[in-house]
């Protein structure tokens, strides 16, 4: 009786990755792009985007689902960059300066977000999503109206002509690609941004170490079962808030790394799709809402960006229209997220149902299930 269930779970676990792999692999030859340029793009994008995706790991571990509120961290990073550019702080020190301004803001925003999410138990993801929109309004208010007015800006060139507010596009020449080029390594025609990779390696080490600390263990426990953790004396609310705070801080730094590679910042739009892309990446990498590992991040970034590079071109070649390729790429990404969410919710219900029918002594299910599991399954299903 157990074997078919096992196969089904393995299949469901990796369905998203498999689908993505198949479609992307099929599109590579159709796109007609040279493999070397694809590879170079992927190498660069890992250095650029992966940090942002890492910020999603901790909230997933703490059982809060996808933290769409990471966008708040991205906004904090952007504010840091605005000041760094305003005062023309150059190079990697400029990035560090921007982080030093952004991180405290991110911590504050993360704390607030954590409080809000704690009040919306069971609906964290939707709330996070809407919270991102709300804070976008606050960000616009601060950057478009207060900056240059109440918040002093030094350089005139970044202000709008009306005298206050920051311009639509911010030129990041002062820090453009400075982290990427810090330690370049050329192997076989590919340039690797080693500094970025080093930063990410440090982050990975941090995450691995963090999981072993008391706080990390607490987070895991809270993620598995809030009731039992609370009974064990873990401060559930505070732990969840801390998960969000750390996540937001990572998002802040990640956004700064992202933008230094772009070289240009769309002041009012740069943060808008950050949450979506990070979520898509980690889900495509095989993570679920309840479980995410470091390999998920890398696999996801590679696959998602491979798809983004290759599919629009393939669409153009197949259908003669670039737009179709791009729409397909978007529909596919949204669809994959929806699929991952559906699979997860469906499996959670299936587990809860089989546990419940086991309790009732039904045909399927184990009569000797210990109570803790059922309570856990029920608590999990109640989420």
């Amino acid at each position: 009786m157990k074997k078919p269930i096992l196969l089904r779970t393995i299949f469901a676990d990796n369905l998203v990755v498999v689908i993505f792999l198949v479609i992307t692999a099929a599109a590579v030859p159709v796109s007609g792009l040279p493999l070397l340029s694809i590879a170079q793009e992927i190498v660069t994008r890992i250095g650029r985007n992966a940090f942002l995706v890492f910020s999603l790991i901790l909230p997933i571990m703490a059982g809060m689902g996808i933290n769409f509120g990471m966008v708040l961290g991205a906004m904090a990073g952007q504010i840091g960059l605005i000041f760094a550019v305003d005062w023309n702080i150059v190079g990697v020190p400029g990035l560090i300066f921007a982080s030093m301004i952004g991180v405290p803001i991110a911590a504050l925003l993360g704390w607030m977000a954590g409080e809000v999410l704690n009040r919306a138990r069971g609906r964290e993801m939707v709330t996070g999503f809407i919270l991102a929109f709300l804070m976008d309004g606050v960000y616009q208010f601060v950057v478009l109206y207060l900056m240059g007015f109440i918040i002093p800006l030094h350089s005139i060139t970044i202000k709008l002509s009306r005298g206050y507010g920051v311009r639509n596009t911010l030129n990041l020449d002062a820090v453009r690609q400075t982290l990427d080029r810090l330690i370049p390594l050329k192997i076989g025609g590919l340039t690797f941004p080693i500094a970025n990779y080093l930063v990410m390696a440090v982050l990975c080490i941090f995450i691995v170490w963090f999981r072993k600390t008391k706080l990390g263990q607490d987070m895991r426990a809270v993620g598995q079962n809030q009731v039992v953790s609370h009974a064990a004396g873990i401060p559930v609310e505070r732990t969840r808030i801390l998960a969000i705070v750390i996540s937001t801080i990572f998002a802040c730094i990640g956004q700064i790394i992202f933008l230094q590679n772009m070289g240009n910042m769309a002041t009012y739009n740069a943060h808008k799709q950050t949450g979506f892309f990070a979520a898509a990446a980690i889900l495509v990498g095989g993570a679920s809402i309840a479980k995410a590992t470091i390999p998920n991040v890398f696999v996801g970034v590679v696959l998602l960006h491979l798809m983004y590079i290759v599919v629009p071109r393939a669409g153009t070649n197949l259908f003669g229209s670039a737009m179709i390729g791009e729409f397909f790429r978007d529909a596919f990404s949204y669809g994959v997220i929806a699929l991952a969410l559906v699979l997860h919710a469906w499996r959670k219900r299936a587990n809860a149902d089989s546990a419940r029918s086991g309790l009732r002594g039904g045909a399927a299910g184990n009569r000797t299930e210990p109570p803790a599991t059922i309570a856990a399954a029920d608590a999990g299903a109640g989420k």
Binding site: R45, I89, V90, P93, G94, F97, R162, R167, N269
Partner: protein, 184 residues
């Protein structure tokens, strides 16, 4: 009714740890701010316009030909009346003037860029002549920015363009608001 209290010694130790923790956090805060300030001071970029123009009042003359290099960087040649720009990071800098036509020996000097300004004018002839001040803030009449870059980014009732992970709008549709195309 006796409420259980800690022994005085334990309470004292707790107070000590608490004070120690506060002091440590204060120290960390000071270090953080100091680091930020240091980054600010030592990594601010400035643009220095270098002049080879003479003083109309005649106190110093421009040179026929000179080669300027700042902080050991690549030298730039200046004919009489030329002006060119250097970007520098930080406040203290070395400057070396060479005269390829051999009219004078090489001149080594130092200058300090004030922290607050962005753009400065350094007159080499004035500096070589030993007159002060040879470096001054340079104020530029603000050129009007192109209006489309200036447009308020908020347009209600029109959906915002969705940006892909490369920063470009996903759909280049005609009714999209002026989107910023980021360099890849």
């Amino acid at each position: 009714m006796k409420v259980p209290t800690q022994k005085p010694k334990a309470a004292q130790m707790q107070a000590q740890t608490k004070t120690r923790r506060i002091l440590l956090r204060l120290a960390l805060l000071v270090v953080y701010v100091a680091l930020a300030v240091a980054l600010f001071i030592f990594n601010r970029g400035h643009t220095v316009l270098v002049d080879n123009k003479g003083d109309p009042a005649g106190t110093f003359q421009a040179f026929e030909l000179m080669k300027v290099s700042i902080d050991g960087g690549k030298g730039m040649e200046f004919f009489k009346g030329d002006r060119d720009k250097f970007t520098v990071v930080g406040q203290r800098h070395r400057i070396r003037i060479e005269f390829p036509d051999g009219s004078k020996p090489a001149f080594e000097g130092r200058f300090i860029v004030p922290l607050g300004g962005d753009l400065f004018l350094l007159s080499v002839p004035k500096m070589v002549a030993g007159l002060e001040p040879f470096i001054e803030p340079f104020v530029v009449a603000r050129s009007p920015l192109p209006s489309e870059e200036d447009a308020l980014p908020l347009v209600p009732d029109v959906p915002e363009p969705i940006l892909g992970p490369d920063g470009k709008p996903i759909l280049a549709l005609p009714t999209a608001t002026p989107a910023d195309t980021a360099g890849k």
